[in-house]
C-alpha cells in the first residue's frame, strides 16, 4: 500500500489473537509481581481464560480471511486450524500444570507467562507467509521453551535438559536462518509466493539448485524442531529431564507449529522443485519411525519411552508430508490434532503419576494403578491405546488417514513399513498397560494423590477429545480438508 504506512483495521483484526497473547503474557508478569506471596494458581486460570479469548479472536479473524501487513501474515483456514491447535495445547498445558507446580513448590506466574509467550510465538509461526516473520515466531517460541525446560532449577535433570535444548536448539535455528539467507540470495525475496515465482522461473537451472540447498538447510532446522531423525538426538534427554507438563507442551505445541511451517514453506515456496527435496522427507520419515519405535522398545523409563514414541510419531507425520497432496496435508493436520490430545494427556498424567519430585518414572512404578486409581488408569489406557492406534481412538483414524494419503500418492513401501512399525510400537505401550492392570502394587512406592481441579479437567478433555476424534472425526476432517488448500 504505497503512501499509507498505517495498517488497516481489518489487518489488526487478523493480528488480534497474537496481540491478545502478548498482552496477556505481560499482564501475568505484572500480576505475578504485584500479588506478592499469594498462591498463583489463579494466574494459571487467567492464562487459560486468556488463551481461550485468543482462540475466540482467531475464530473471529477467520471471518475476514486475507493478508495483513503487506503479505507478511495470512489468515486462512490453515492458519486458523493451527492457531486453535496451539492455543488448545497451551490451555491444556497450563491447566494440567497447576497441581504439578504446587507440588513442586514452583507455582509462580512466570511459568504461565512463558507458556503464553511461547504460544504467541507459535501463533506467529503458523500465520506467517514470510520467512523473517517465521524466524521471529520460531525464536519467540523457542526461547520461552528453553526456559520452561529448566523451570525447576533445583533439579539437575531439568537444568541439563534446558542447557541441551538451548545449545542444540540455537544451532538448529541458525540453520533455518542460514537457509533464509541462501534463499534471499538466490531469489531476492523472503516472501513465500515471491520465492515461488522466482524458483519457478529458474526451474532446472542453477538457481533451482541454490533453492534446493536452502530447502535442505531449512529442513535441518525444522527437522530438529519436530524431532525427526536424524535430528532427534536431543528429544529423549530433553523430554525426560524437563518437568512433565513442559514435556507435554514441547511434544505438541512447537512440533505442530514447526510442521505447519514445513507445509507452508515447502509446498508454497519450494513446491516446484519437489523432486529435489522429497527424498529428504521419506528418508527422515523412515528413520524416525524405525529409530523411535525400536529405541522405545528397550526403555524402562516411561517418560523416555514417550519421548522416543514422539520421535516415531513425527515419522508418521513425515510420511504424510512425503505424500505431497491435499489429502496428505489434511492428514498432517488431523494427526497433529489427534497427537496433541493423546500426547499432552499422556505426559500430563505421567507427571502426576511420577509423584513428588518426579521420582517414580520407571514402568514398574505404575504397578497396581488399575485398582488403586481406576480413573487415572483408565485415562492413561485411553491415551496409550490411541498412541498404539486402536480403532475408535483419534490415533487410529489419524494413522489411517496418513497411510491412506501415502497410498494415494503411490508410496506403497513407505506405507507397509510404516504400518509394520506401528505394530512394533504396540509392544512398548502395551507394557505400560500390563503393569498398570496386571501387576500388584509394590510396597515401597507411595500412593498417588487424587487428580484434582485443572488437571482433572484437562485430562478429561484430552480423553474425550481422543475418543471423539476417533468415533466422529467428521467435523474436524471436514475442516482440515477444506483448509488444506495451501497455495501451490
Amino acid at each position: 500500500m504505497p503512501g499509507n504506512s498505517l495498517p488497516a483495521a481489518v489487518e489488526l483484526v487478523r493480528f488480534l489473537p497474537e496481540t491478545i497473547l502478548v498482552l496477556l503474557g505481560t499482564l501475568i508478569m505484572v500480576l505475578e509481581a504485584v500479588t506478592g506471596d499469594r498462591p498463583k494458581t489463579f494466574l494459571g486460570h487467567l492464562a487459560a481464560a486468556g488463551l481461550g479469548l485468543a482462540a475466540c479472536a482467531a475464530v473471529y479473524a477467520h471471518s475476514s480471511p486475507g493478508e495483513a501487513f503487506s503479505g507478511m501474515l495470512v489468515v486462512d483456514g490453515f492458519t486458523t486450524f493451527f492457531r486453535l491447535l496451539v492455543y488448545a495445547v497451551g490451555i491444556l498445558t497450563v491447566l494440567s500444570s497447576c497441581q504439578f507446580l504446587t507440588r513442586e513448590r514452583a507455582n509462580t506466574g512466570e511459568f504461565y507467562a512463558l507458556v503464553v509467550f511461547s504460544v504467541a510465538g507459535q501463533s506467529v509461526m503458523v500465520a506467517s507467509h514470510e520467512l523473517i516473520m517465521i524466524f521471529i515466531g520460531l525464536e519467540i517460541s523457542s526461547i520461552a521453551t528453553y526456559v520452561l525446560a529448566g523451570f525447576l532449577r533445583d533439579d539437575p535433570r531439568a537444568t541439563e535438559s534446558a542447557v541441551k535444548y538451548f545449545l542444540l536448539g540455537s544451532f538448529a535455528t541458525a540453520f533455518v536462518l542460514y537457509g533464509i539467507a541462501w534463499i534471499y540470495g538466490a531469489t531476492g525475496s523472503t516472501e513465500l509466493t515471491a520465492i515461488r515465482a522466482a524458483v519457478d522461473t529458474q526451474a532446472g537451472r542453477e538457481g533451482a539448485m541454490l533453492a534446493a540447498v536452502a530447502a535442505a538447510l531449512m529442513f535441518v532446522g525444522l527437522g530438529f524442531k519436530v524431532s525427526g531423525a536424524p535430528f532427534q538426538m536431543w528429544a529423549p534427554d530433553v523430554y525426560q529431564g524437563a518437568p512433565s507438563p513442559v514435556s507435554a507442551f514441547l511434544s505438541a505445541g512447537p512440533k505442530a507449529a514447526a510442521f505447519a511451517v514445513f507445509l507452508r514453506v515447502f509446498e508454497t515456496a519450494f513446491g516446484s522443485i519437489g523432486p529435489l527435496w522429497e527424498p529428504l522427507f521419506w528418508i527422515s520419515a523412515l528413520l524416525s519411525m524405525t529409530i523411535g519405535n525400536f529405541a522405545a522398545l528397550v526403555q524402562g523409563n516411561v517418560k523416555r519411552m514417550l519421548a522416543y514414541s514422539s520421535i516415531a510419531h513425527a515419522g508418521y507425520i513425515l510420511v504424510a508430508l512425503t505424500a505431497r497432496s491435499e489429502v496428505g496435508t489434511a492428514a498432517v493436520m488431523f494427526y497433529l490434532a489427534a497427537y496433541a490430545l493423546m500426547n499432552v494427556g499422556a505426559f500430563a498424567l505421567l507427571g502426576h503419576l511420577t509423584r513428588k519430585g518426579e521420582r517414580f518414572q520407571k514402568v514398574e512404578d505404575l504397578a497396581g494403578l488399575g485398582s488403586a486409581q481406576p480413573l487415572a488408569a483408565a485415562l492413561f489406557s485411553i491415551f496409550l491405546l490411541s498412541l498404539i492406534g486402536v480403532p475408535l481412538t483419534a490415533g487410529f483414524f489419524g494413522k489411517f488417514y496418513i497411510f491412506k494419503a501415502a497410498l494415494d500418492s503411490g508410496l506403497v513401501w513407505l506405507t507397509v513399513l510404516g504400518l509394520l512399525n506401528s505394530a512394533v510400537g504396540a509392544y512398548y505401550y502395551l507394557r505400560v498397560l500390563v503393569v498398570m492392570y496386571m501387576r500388584e502394587a509394590s510396597e515401597e512406592v507411595p500412593p498417588v494423590e487424587a487428580l484434582s481441579g485443572g488437571l482433572r479437567a484437562a485430562l478429561l478433555a484430552c480423553s474425550a477429545g481422543t475418543l471423539a476424534l476417533g468415533i466422529f472425526p467428521g467435523p474436524v476432517l471436514d475442516f482440515v480438508n477444506r483448509s488444506a488448500t495451501l497455495i501451490r
Partner: protein, 526 residues
Amino acid sequence: MTLLNLVLWAPLAGFILLLSMPRAKEQAIRAVSLAVSLAAFLLSLGLAWGLPRVSAGEYLATDLPWIASPAIRYHIALDGLSVWLVLLSTLLTPVSVLISWSYIQKRVKEFYAFLLLLEFGLVGVFIARDLFLFYVFWEVSLVPMYFLIGIWGHERRIYAAVKFFLYTMAGSVLMLAAIIYLYNRAGTFDYTAILASISAGTLVLDRVEQQLLFLAFFLAFAIKVPLFPLHTWLPDAHVEAPSAGSVMLASVMLKMGTYGLVRFCLPLFPQAARENAGWIAALAIVGIIYGALVALVQPNMKKLVAYTSVSHLGFVVLGIFSFTQMGLDGAVYQMLNHGISTGALFVLVGYLYERRHSLEIKDYGGVATPAPWLSTVFLVTTLSSVGLPMLNNFVGEFLVLQGAAQARFAWSVFAAIGVILSVCYMLWLYQRVFFGDTPEEVRSRVFDLRPREWAAMLPLIALMVWMGVYSRTFLPPVTAANREILRMTNVNVLFEVRAPRGGGVELRAGRAAGPVRAIGEESDAR
C-alpha cells in the same frame, strides 16, 4: 432400529451400564451381565427366525453414513454366512457369564464389562459390510480379550496376552494397508458395492495386485484361525486364559479368521485365491495332522484342547479352499461345530479346574466315580468332538472331506488321518481322566455338576445332538450364501480348461459377469 442393531448394541449398552455400577455390588454385576447377555441372545434368536432360507442377499441391512470423506459407512447386514456365527457369539456369552460366576472373584466388574465389550466386537465383525467398519470391529475385539487373558489368567498370563495381541496386530496392519489400497482402486469401502463392481467388470484387479492384496488379507486371517505354522500364540493364550476367555477365544474369535477367509479372501480376490489354494490346503492338512499329533502327547488338558483346535480348524480351511459347494458348506458348519464342541470342552475343563485346581492330566483319574453326570456330559462332548455319527462334528467333517475329495482326492485321504487321530487323543484323554483309580484329592474335591453348571452345558449338549441329527435347520441359509460366494469366485478368473477329448491344455479368460464353471464343479449340484 432393526433387530440386528439391537443385537449389536445391547452388549455395548450393558458394558456402559456395568461401568456405572458400584464395584462392591458383585452379585448385582453378575446378574446384570447375565440379563444383558441373555437378552442379546433372545433377540438374536429373532434373527434366525426371520432369515430367508434360500436367498443370499442382505437381510436387515442398515446403511448409514458415518464419516463423509473418505466415505465410510455404518453398513451392517445379515446373511446365511453371518447368522449362525452371530448366534454362536450371543449364545456363548451368557454361557461364559455362567461359568465365571464363582470362578472369577477379583475385579468382577471389569471382567464382565470386558466380556460384554468382547461380545460387541465379535457380533460387529460378523455383520459389518463396510471394510473399514469391519477392521474397526476386528481390532476392537482384540482389546477386551487382551485384558481378559492378562488380568484373570494363570501364571504366564502376561506373556500370553502380549503374544496374542502382537501376533494379531502384526497380522492385521497389512490388512489395513490392503483395505486402503482397495479403497483407492474401488472408490469405496463398501463390501457389497465392491463385489458389484467386480461382478460388473468395472473393477479389475490385475494378477499381481490380487496376489498381494490376497496375501495381506490372508495373513491377518491365517494368524487368527490359526493356520499352521502361525498357530504358536494359540496354545499359550488358551492355557493361560481364564475359562470364559478360552471359551470365547476358541468358540468365536478363531472363527473371525475363517469367516474372513470366506467373506473376503474368496470373492474379492478369486484369481489369487484359486492360485494359492494348493499350498494353503497343504498347510491346512499339515495343521490337521500336526495338531492332532501334538495333542496326543500333551500332559496339560487345556493345551490338549488347544491343539485340537489347530487340527479342527485345519478342516475348516481345507473345506474353504476346496472351492466346492460341499466343502464350503462343511467348512461353515464345522466352524459352528467347533464353536459348540470345543467351547463345551473348555467349559468342562474349567469345571474340573475349579474343583481340583490343576490342569495336568496326571493329577486326575477315576473322576467318573465322584462325578457321574460330569463324566457323562464330558463323554457326549468328547464323542461330538471326535465326529461320531448323529452328533454335530460328523456332518461337518463329512461335508469337508467330500468337498476336498471332489477337488483333489488325495487331500481327503490325508485329512481323514486327522479324524482317526482325533479319536485316539480324545478317548485316551477321557480314559486317563475319568476312569482308573481315584486319587484321594480327586475323591475329596471333585463333586458333580451344580445347577448353574448344568444351565451352561445343557444348551451346548442339545445343540450337539440337534446339529448332528437335523442339519437342515442350519444348512440351507449357509448353502445359499456359499453359492453366491462360489459364484463370485468364478467371475473374471482365468481357468485351465481341458479339451473334451484328450489334447493339450487351453487357457480361456472368463470375463463374463456370470459364472464360468470349471471342470470338477459340475458335480456339486445337490
